[in-house]
């Protein structure tokens, strides 16, 4: 049995390697049930982080957690990313923050547990962080029920208007901002 390979920061130069066209479009094109999850990634000074990259993993609307290949489908002739074919729900998204530290994801609400798992990578972050964006409060959810109200609030995406949810991620808290709850898995 081997011991784990240590994590290292994603650094500043992943930009031409990891992001791919359509990375933030998990929802099949034109699906009327699609919702937008968006927000900012911020540091301990409350400044947006322009060099973070977020990954999302979630159950399909029917609750399936099997996922599907084809998130970064490539053209075998040119090697370029041609994107998802818009039929399968792969459950996986990858979105770099823009120069404002902002990200946006278009997806379908997960079935079963009402949360989207978020994995945060950034320059300056030596080991990635997991959190969850809950699109709805979930009475009886073991994680939410274990948290104090102000901590729990950091995991609840805020409906802004129909089909649009705001979810900011504070890598570090300060006097004004509550630090986002980050997770470990036993």
């Amino acid at each position: 049995m081997g011991l784990p390979t240590p994590s290292q920061t994603v650094g500043p130069f992943y930009g031409y390697a990891l992001p791919f066209t359509g990375g933030g479009q998990i929802a099949p094109t034109g699906d009327p049930a699609a919702v937008t999850l968006h927000g900012y990634v911020l540091d301990g000074a409350g400044e947006p982080i322009p060099d973070a990259i977020l990954e999302f993993w979630q159950a399909a609307p029917d609750g399936s957690r099997a996922g599907a290949p084809g998130s970064l489908r490539r053209d075998p002739v040119t090697g370029t990313v041609i994107g998802r074919h818009g039929l399968d729900f792969t459950g996986f998204g990858r979105v770099p923050t823009d120069a404002d530290g902002h990200y946006a994801l278009r997806t379908l609400p997960p079935g079963g547990a009402p949360y989207i798992s978020v994995c945060v990578f950034a320059r300056g972050l030596l080991h990635h962080l997991y959190t969850r964006a809950y699109l709805a409060d979930a009475p009886g959810d073991p994680l939410l029920t274990s948290l104090e109200p102000e901590r729990r609030a950091t995991l609840l995406a805020t409906p802004e208007r129909d089909g649009v949810y705001r979810f900011d991620i504070y890598l570090q808290g300060n006097e004004t901002n509550e630090e986002t709850v980050f997770l470990a898995f036993a």
Partner: protein
């Protein structure tokens, strides 16, 4: 004025000694870097101050994970020396190894992504503007899927060390960035592979952020003479073990 290497090196030594003492006193070992590792200055405002909340839910969605397939890679993606019309400059190498989980099981059919600087230590990235030449025949990005034994293989160029602005005269040891998926989202890993015997190891706060000596060694590839190809390439082997639990219900050969 930028801080000196002496300042950073003193902090590195202090934190390494503190970790060694804590372990000697019966404290836990750690395989990963602490997120609040001050010698890496960019970490100061980018780490949580509160402890992580441990999820023990066997139904957690994170115990499953994304899957990839043959549509997500092309055959040429694993040869970084053949992505342009000409040959890149530098020392041609192959890097191969296995991706395993904590129990030693191979991670099959999963995505491995790499990116790196060219032989002169320059990234093909707009933000890297240090005065080393770009190579029109080298982009430095590759990917592949692991085979049934969890094996991956890349052909590339040995990257050069490069300067950065953590402190005065800061240089990164040569490295290849690796991104890996396991069978569960909990096993996600982004790390860096280093080359054996690099004199820059001791000066580099990113590598030294792994304060456990044995864990730090696990980021260093092995030069394997039998993997070198006569008059063609130098061979390196690097096995990767993913941390984190996975659901037990995931069927074989998924």
């Amino acid at each position: 004025m930028a801080e000196t290497q002496e300042t950073i090196s003193a902090e590195i030594a202090e934190l390494r000694d503190a970790y060694a003492k804590a372990v000697a006193d019966g404290g836990p070992r750690s395989d990963h870097p602490a997120r609040d590792y001050r010698p890496y200055r960019s970490s100061v405002l980018r780490h949580p101050k509160r402890p992580l909340v441990t999820v023990r839910d066997p139904e957690a969605v994170e115990l499953s994970g994304p899957v990839f397939g043959v549509t997500d890679v092309t055959d040429l993606d694993s040869d970084l020396t053949r992505q342009h019309s000409g040959e890149p400059q530098g020392e041609r190498i192959t890097v191969t190894g296995r991706v395993l989980d904590r129990a030693g099981r191979p991670v099959r059919g999963q995505l491995v992504e790499i990116w790196q600087a060219n032989a002169a230590g320059r990234y093909a990235h707009q933000r890297d503007q240090h005065p080393a030449p770009l190579d029109p025949n080298f982009t430095g990005v590759g990917r592949c899927l692991t085979d049934d034994e969890g094996r991956y293989a890349f052909t590339t160029i040995k990257p050069g060390p490069y300067p950065w602005r953590n402190h005065d005269n800061a240089w990164r040891p040569a490295h290849i960035h690796f991104s890996l998926f396991g069978t569960a989202f909990t096993q996600r890993l982004i790390t860096q592979m280093y080359f054996p015997g690099d004199p820059l190891f001791r000066y580099d706060p990113i590598m030294q952020s792994v304060t456990d000596d044995a864990a730090r060694q696990r980021m260093v590839a092995e030069y394997v003479h039998d993997l070198s190809v006569p008059e063609w390439s130098m061979g390196y082997r690097w096995d990767i073990v993913l941390d984190g639990p996975a659901a037990t219900w995931i069927e074989e050969g998924r």
